[in-house]
């Protein structure tokens, strides 16, 4: 299935590209990030996902949240403020 992703926290994602990624049925939000890493040839530091928060189809999601086909995922900085 396909998931559209925008990496809003670009400074934390080492050049992961916005766009559509293919993931298997039953994939989670974190699986989508891994798919993006693979596709872009980027390896994020371990625990990097702790610096992320996710909005999936306009709802707050966690790394373990399953992703439906055609979903829209935003990867944001976990730390907000100012």
């Amino acid at each position: 299935m396909k998931v559209w992703v925008k990496f809003v926290c670009k400074d934390l994602t080492g050049g992961l590209a916005n766009g559509e990624y293919s993931v298997p049925d039953g994939a989670t939000v974190l699986d989508v990030i891994r798919a993006a890493e693979k596709s872009c040839g980027v390896t994020l530091p371990p625990d990097r996902d702790k610096a992320f928060q996710y909005i999936l189809n306009d709802k707050a999601a966690q790394g373990y949240t399953p992703v439906p086909d055609g979903a829209k995922l935003y990867v944001l900085h976990a730390r907000l403020g100012g």
Binding site: D11, Q53, I55, K59, A60, A78, R79, L80
Partner: protein, 621 residues
């Protein structure tokens, strides 16, 4: 006394007299500086239930011991008074260079009472005080005034804290400004200054403040620099490059930012609108140079130049996150030029951007739901997202050029009362508009906004908008077990604010270093346990001012909308309702305070110490 000038200046503007008093060791040790030192002084010096704008009302401009003494991120000063908006305690702080200059001029704090017959400014020159006529400056904008005073004193470097026309008009959203675009903005500070016909406090000096251990301060600064290269390097990098506005897009997508006067959701804005107002996007178009407050290695500010378009600006401070959100998402506006221009107008006229943008949002909702006619709007068709109308109404407010502009200049609550309309669209805490972090996303903010002694602030302690908002829903919406974490955060931020550190020191300084800085500056040798009691005392001191005014728990209100009553129907905050009273119960239970009244018991006051006068007033002891 190490760490302080040891002098407080009391100014009576009615008879133009000054009195220098000693800052005693007890006062400094127990209340440090900034807001709580201010609350301690006003508790004694200001009769209970004084009107905030009455001659007997006091305005304090107060440094912290870190100002001008070397600690990194320690450049913030505080303005204190009773708030004409909430009717209770008020403090607001600001960065730039003013705090350190105030101290070098010879005083830790200046307190004003009385009313000058004609406009004046106070000039402190290496301890010498003079009253200067400001009649020719009355009516001038902050920028015009700064230029005029610097020319008059033939000194481009004097520190100036001043009001613009907003303060002169006693607007509830009038700020005290310094360094052209820094603001101690909230709670009507500028109105209190305006009520005294005090246009500015101007300082200059090179008085040296002794510290206990200079080498230790250097070592702690080195530790800070290493820390900023280590675990927090990426956060520092973001704030250093793009400032608080770097996270605007994240905030609008996640539900952190207010959208459509807190009634909308991320769906109301396009992806382009969310992205264009981040400072990374705006920097590409407008950035001229960087700006940092005194002694700050993060340097989260920048100066913009807007060369093209309808609102050209030669130099203007980069909008902070609060500004972009208040003039952006709150109004469904995705136009960076208008946001920059409105930011400039607020700085120039001396308005608090948070209350100003929120007031526009309130007026927009009223107008777009038919509560106001086009004629009442002064012909300004204030449709959601209409950048020209947003600018036109902002100008009308700043210039007080239309009836609606004049009324909106009093902020939302006064405007609703004036027209007897739109009460259902008010979003505030005890009357003051809410900053741009949604309590429905980070529920702990509901406790802070409603029950901090200075209500409606995101710069007060508690479970704030940082990591708490990103917690899993089952955790953050359980409203359980929040008391300890909430109180720990309060204790830490009380010390931050009173010492004069910037709030971004939550990541910019290593954990636990603030007390060590205080120990290097002063002779107080606070232990860790002292630090806990200190934080509790500082918080209780501000609260005690409100208690003395007769305020109890039930007097602190928050608007239903910001706690999801009723909940939003779509977006990341869909169906979220916050149990704000449970959060407050958790907090007061942790403190051991009375849940119904928020009165601290005798035992608490005795244990924390240094609050004998509160004990006496509450319990006759």
């Amino acid at each position: 006394m190490n760490g302080y000038t040891g002098k407080l200046l009391f100014v009576n503007l009615t008879d133009k007299t000054c009195e220098v008093r000693e800052l005693t060791e007890d006062l400094a040790k127990n209340f440090v500086g900034g807001p709580s030192l201010g609350a301690r002084i006003l508790y004694d010096e200001m009769p209970p239930n004084t009107d905030a704008l009455a001659p007997e009302s006091l305005l304090g401009i107060i440094s912290g011991p870190t100002n001008g003494t070397g600690p990194l991120m320690g450049g913030r000063y505080t303005v204190v008074s009773k708030s004409p908006v909430t009717g209770g305690w008020n403090d607001a702080n600001s960065g730039g260079n003013f705090g350190p200059i105030l101290r070098k001029s010879g005083y830790d704090a200046v307190f004003f009472k009385g009313v000058s017959e004609t406009p004046v400014y106070l000039f402190i020159d290496n301890g010498e005080v003079s009253f200067r006529d400001a009649s020719h400056l009355w009516g001038k904008t902050t920028i015009e005034t700064e230029i005029a005073i610097r020319a008059e004193l033939d000194d481009p470097k004097v520190g100036i804290a001043l009001i613009g026309p907003a303060g002169e008009r006693l607007s509830n959203m009038a700020a005290i400004m310094n360094d052209t675009h820094r603001a101690a903005g909230r709670g009507g500070t500028g109105a209190v200054m305006g009520s005294k016909r005090l246009k500015a406090l101007v300082c200059r000096g090179d008085i040296k403040i002794e510290v206990r251990d200079k080498a230790e301060i250097v070592a702690l600064n080195k530790e800070t620099v290493e820390w900023e290269k280590g675990p927090v390097a990426e956060v520092v990098k973001i704030f250093s490059a793009w400032g608080t506005g770097s996270l605007y897009e994240d905030s609008t997508i996640s539900g952190d930012a207010g959208i459509k006067n807190w009634g909308g959701s991320a769906k109301d804005l396009t992806d382009e609108q969310k992205e264009i107002l981040t400072s990374a996007s705006m920097d590409k178009m407008y950035r001229k140079k960087k700006f940092a407050c005194n002694a700050c290695p993060v340097g989260c500010g920048a100066i913009y130049e807007i060369k093209d378009g309808p609102w050209k600006l030669e130099e203007t401070g980069r909008p902070e996150y609060e500004t972009s959100s208040n003039f952006g998402s709150m109004l469904l506006n995705g136009d960076p030029q208008s946001v920059n221009y409105c930011n400039f107008l607020c700085n120039e006229y001396g308005y608090d951007v948070i209350s100003f943008g929120s007031t526009l949002a309130w007026a927009m909702e009223c107008y777009n739901t038919g509560l106001f006619t086009l004629e009442e709007m002064g012909g300004i068709d204030l449709k959601w997202g209409d950048r020209d109308a947003i600018v036109a109404m902002s100008e009308a407010i700043c210039r007080a050029s239309t009836e609606m502009g004049r009324v909106l200049g009093g902020a939302t609550v006064a405007a609703a009362r004036h027209y007897n309309r739109g009460f259902e669209f008010l979003v505030n805490a005890s009357g003051i508009e809410i900053p741009q972090h949604d309590a429905r996303r980070a529920p702990g903010l509901a406790r802070t906004y409603q029950y901090d002694p200075t209500p409606g602030r995101h710069v007060k302690g508690g479970l704030g908008f940082t990591d708490h908002g990103a917690e899993p829903p089952e955790q953050k919406y359980s409203f359980k077990d929040t008391g300890r974490r909430d109180l720990d955060a309060v204790i830490d931020l009380e010390i931050t604010n009173c010492a004069g550190f910037c709030q971004l020191s939550d990541f910019g300084l290593p954990p636990g270093i603030k007390l060590r800085f205080l120990n290097a500056l002063t002779d107080f040798n606070y232990s860790e346990e002292d630090g806990v009691n200190l934080g509790l005392r500082l918080f209780t001191m501000r609260h005690a001012f409100n208690l003395r005014e007769g305020m109890r728990r039930g007097d602190f209100k928050i608007s239903d909308r910001i706690v999801g009553k009723p909940p939003l129907k779509e977006g990341p905050l869909e169906n979220i309702t916050i149990d704000n009273e449970q959060l407050a119960d958790n907090f007061y239970t942790e403190l051991g305070w009375d849940l119904e009244t928020a009165l601290p018991p005798k035992e608490f006051l005795e244990k924390v110490g240094g609050l004998d006068f509160v004990l006496r007033d509450l319990y006759g002891a």
